[in-house]
């Protein structure tokens, strides 16, 4: 059987959860003797010059014979279509040559929904699978389902409500956008949702429930064998791992840290690991900088910048508690799997797939309402130096499924179609 994984970006070009999953599944397939695997990563038409060749839309990644970059121009970020003649021609030929039986899409951005039409046209017998990593089909605002103006999770995705976030568009535009996704998705044989929350939101949106299977993203564990779980003496180090975007809630963590520090004489340490500040709003970055500047003496905020998957285990082990204060409905939160790998209890907002689904309060972590500074401050105070709680929660952690397990779950779905 031949397997083609199509991703937005490649971890070698830019790091991100969805491309890690696509690459991991490709690697697992590539090592599976029953499968012949390929990876095609869309990189758009700007940046990543190291992968571009003049006049070519599909090029091989260095040091690989089966991983390709696809550069296409003119991607329409609203309708998620490309209609680039050169890239279309190249993709038609690529599909004809590789002739995959299973085509697994991980995104619509830069790939384009027209790619699904092309696949169906060139390979009518191929089965198309689509992993729903985010909410792009439902929400044109970066697929976050988060209303920035109201700072709350979006629960009503009717076109007239979308206009509130994007006033330059009409409700009819959003109707058409939904139709575009729906039309493309009618050609998809089966969807994969990494979390039950995604399954629920997409079912509400209109995908048939039976066409979506929940398969958690596999995790490449880095924990050494026989590793002894370690922690700080004071259990007072709280870590944030993730992108520095508005919706990731760093401001909520800092405000909660300040509130907690004002209510105790203990020292609280917050370590911030994360990059991609360029995607955050200026106002947000300013407010975060001001919060850091205004910290009381017993709150120490340490910024470490970007990290990679290769060193995340050691970084996770350098904190006692991992805080995931997202105010947007997280779809899966890879950071939770990484925290679990280091046996770190996660204190998470209940947004999306976090609270209730992945983090069960008082069993493997603790949960607070999204955006609630007071509730998070309370949990920080409860956690400080609380070795009994830490041990209970750490022992309650069950490792995330491995990449190989996830690949096996995928192959079962492929064979069922």
């Amino acid at each position: 059987m031949r397997y083609l994984s199509i991703s937005l970006y490649h971890p070698r070009a830019i790091k991100g959860g969805a491309q890690y999953v696509a690459k991991d599944l490709f690697d697992a397939a590539d090592q599976d003797p029953d499968w012949d695997a390929f990876l095609l990563s869309a990189i758009g038409h700007v940046g990543f010059d190291q992968y571009r060749r003049v006049g070519a839309s599909i090029t091989l990644f260095p040091d690989s014979k089966k991983e390709f970059a696809m550069a296409s121009a003119g991607f329409d970020g609203f309708y998620n279509v490309t209609y680039d003649p050169r890239a279309t021609k190249a993709l038609v030929r690529f599909l004809t040559d590789t002739h995959p039986d299973i085509i697994h899409l991980h995104h619509s951005i830069l790939i384009g929904l027209d790619a699904i039409d092309i696949i169906r046209s060139v390979l009518p017998k191929a089965k198309i699978f689509y992993t729903l990593h985010e909410y792009i089909p439902i929400c044109s605002m970066n697929g976050q389902l988060f209303r920035y103006s109201e700072r709350e999770i979006c629960s009503d995705t009717s076109p007239d409500q979308c206009v509130r976030c994007v006033p330059s568009r009409s409700a009819d535009d959003f109707l058409l956008r939904r139709r575009r996704f729906t039309r493309a998705f009618e050609k998809v044989h089966h969807f994969i949702a990494p979390s039950g929350h995604l399954h629920k939101r997409y079912t509400q949106w209109g995908l048939p429930a039976e066409k979506i299977s929940v398969v958690p993203n596999g995790h490449k564990g880095l924990r050494p064998p026989q590793w002894n779980t370690t922690r700080s003496a004071h259990l007072n180090i709280f870590g944030f791992f993730g992108q520095f975007l508005d919706a990731k809630g760093v401001d909520v963590l800092l405000k909660a840290g300040i509130r907690a520090a004002n209510l105790t004489r203990e020292t609280i340490v917050i370590k911030l690991f994360g990059g991609n500040r360029q995607f955050a709003t200026e106002g947000y970055l300013r407010s975060v900088a001001k919060l850091i500047a205004d910290c009381p003496d017993n709150l120490k905020v340490e910024e470490y910048g970007e990290y990679s998957r290769d060193n995340v285990f050691n970084l996770m082990a350098s904190v006692d508690w991992v805080v995931v204060p997202s105010v947007w409905p997280e779809t899966f939160a890879l950071v939770v799997s990484e925290a679990w790998d280091a046996k770190r209890p996660v204190i998470a907002s209940s947004a999306g797939a976090l609270g209730g689904e992945r983090i069960v309060h008082d069993r493997n972590g603790m949960v607070f309402p999204p955006g609630s500074v007071e509730a998070l401050a309370d949990l920080i105070l409860i956690s400080l130096g609380n070795s009994e709680l830490w041990s209970k929660l750490s022992n309650g952690i069950v490792d995330e499924v491995s990449v190989n397990d996830a690949w096996e779950a995928h192959t079962k779905l492929f064979q069922a179609e």
């Binding site: 279509v81 003649p85 038609v92 039409d117 076109p159 409700a171 058409l176 729906t182 039309r183």
Partner: protein, 500 residues
């Protein structure tokens, strides 16, 4: 006890006239009272020879085109100025704008300032001077009073001038039709002249051709204006419901932006969709009528499907349900279709023409102003309803024939051409489809609404309408009224109140 006013004697003041008008004294060679009075009677009173005359007239906007068109917008206190003329000097030639050139309209804001008048104070003048030699200097004067002076005149292209003039005239278009109809009738010939002149200067060129079938029997005509935002989505939806192999899509772009990118997109689209597509670009904006008429002349199919760029098939109907739409045979009828809003509620299932009484007490005018109404609007019919609204609406036209919106038409090409196509007299768009329907019916044609397929019409709801568009809709309404005001096809207003 004072005398009645009419019995009082009015005397001419020759000394004051001489004092304020030294040029007249020089011209007549002295201060002879009789000569001064004669000058006043024959010239002076029309030349506005009084102090502070600029307090009684104001030019608020002036622009001109390289085609010799001039548009003047302003106001005047006609009680003081009487029947005046303006002189336009262009370089070393001049011409007059006389009373008959002024379209007067009410300006309550001006009336408040000048003390109230039963004479309309606002004016718009739209005139053309043929064979004008353009110059850098333009002066407009009222007698000795200079109202406009420009030593570095910018001459607009005719299309820019037309659009700007339409925007300027919108001040009247936005008034109630009773007040504005006469103005529309007054201004339409001048606008129509520019429109015709501009339109006749345009041409079409083929820019894309993906012909994969030898035999074409159906032509789907889609006219795009400026942006083709929806085109690829529309094509995708048409592919979804299954375009017949013998169908071609004929695109005509008016002032199309990003045409090169669009051609690229179509190339990509056609690589995986075996669809016959040709696209023609117009060198400007030829309007809805001319572009569709042009498409009809180059269409290869014997059946034409006129389709607006914002028409989409029902998302809940299958390809099978659209078979009849494509293949039902046509005889001598024009076929319209069921149109729904994006939300799924009915937009309309046909149209009829009725009229308002347009009256203006200040001018004692009293006329019909025709209006197109849509059957089904405001009703709760939904695109997914099993019951079709068409029968009910047909029954409700009180014996009058139904009209069909050209948002989606199906008609035999020969019949369309033989019946004269769309009237290109309508500026840019609107009312041309109702005009065609009225002519078609008068010639004995039959109009039906096909209930077999349902369509969504995303007519730009929620987007503000530009002043230019509001104005040409108003002018086109006036033309439609002139043409069909006496038609027996009109539904009486009282009957229209029960039609929905």
């Amino acid at each position: 006890m004072s005398l009645p006013r009419e019995d009082r004697e009015m005397k001419f003041l020759p000394e004051l006239y001489a004092l304020n008008n030294a040029d007249v004294v020089v011209a007549i060679g002295g201060e002879n009272p009789d000569q001064l009075y004669t000058h006043y009677q024959s010239n002076g009173r029309y030349e506005i020879r009084f102090p502070n005359s600029n307090q009684y007239i104001n030019l608020e906007d002036v622009f001109y085109s390289s085609g010799g068109h001039f548009l003047l917008v302003g106001w005047a206190d006609r009680r003081i100025l009487g029947e005046f003329k303006l002189t336009v000097e262009v370089g070393y030639v001049c011409f007059d704008i006389i009373n008959q050139d002024f379209c007067w309209h009410s300006r309550p804001d001006v009336n408040t300032v000048i003390g109230g008048s039963n004479l309309n104070a606002g004016f718009i003048c739209l005139v053309q001077l043929s064979n004008l030699t353009l110059s850098s200097r333009v002066t407009i004067r009222l007698g000795a009073l200079i109202l406009h002076f420009n030593e570095a005149a910018r001459w607009l292209s005719p299309d820019n001038f037309l659009n700007r003039a339409l925007g300027a005239a919108c001040a009247i278009a936005d008034k109630p039709i009773g007040i504005g109809l006469e103005s529309a009738n007054f201004l339409f010939p001048a606008f129509h002249s520019i429109w015709n002149e501009y339109r006749s200067s345009l041409n079409y060129v083929k820019v894309f051709d993906n012909s994969v079938s030898v035999s074409i029997r159906r032509s789907i005509v889609i006219v795009q204006h400026r942006q083709a935002d929806f085109l690829l989505e529309q094509l995708g939806e048409l592919s979804r419901i299954g375009l017949p192999d013998d169908a071609e899509i004929l695109l005509v772009g008016n002032e199309l932006e990003n045409a090169v990118t669009l051609c690229d997109n179509l190339t990509a689209y056609c690589l995986v969709n075996k669809v016959n597509i040709r696209m023609f670009l117009c060198s400007g904006n030829s309007g809805f009528s001319a572009a569709n008429n042009f498409a009809a002349t180059v269409a290869l199919g014997e059946t034409l499907f006129f389709m607006n760029p914002d028409i989409f098939p029902s998302p809940t109907q299958s390809a099978d349900e659209f078979k009849e739409f494509w293949s039902a045979p046509l005889e001598n009828e024009l076929t319209g279709h069921l149109l729904y809003y994006g939300t799924g509620s009915i937009m309309h299932s046909g149209m009829f023409a009725t009229y308002d009484l347009a009256f203006d007490p200040t001018t004692a005018s009293h006329n019909k102003a025709l209006r197109i109404e849509h059957l089904g609007k405001d009703l709760r019919w939904h695109i997914e309803d099993v019951t079709c609204p068409i029968k009910a609406s047909s029954d409700l036209t009180v014996g009058k024939s139904i009209l069909a919106s050209a948002a989606l038409w199906k008609i035999n090409k020969d019949l369309f051409v033989r019946s004269g196509g769309f009237s290109t007299d309508y500026i840019f768009a609107y009312y041309e489809d109702a005009d065609y329907c009225m002519r078609f019916l008068t010639m004995g044609g039959r109009i039906v609404v096909d209930p077999s397929s349902r369509w969504i019409h995303l007519e730009g709801a929620g987007k503000p309408m530009s002043s230019t568009k509001r104005c040409f809709m108003w002018l086109n309404r006036a033309l439609f009224t002139q043409r069909f005001g006496d038609s027996t096809l009109l539904v009486e207003p009282i009957d229209s109140m029960t039609l929905i």
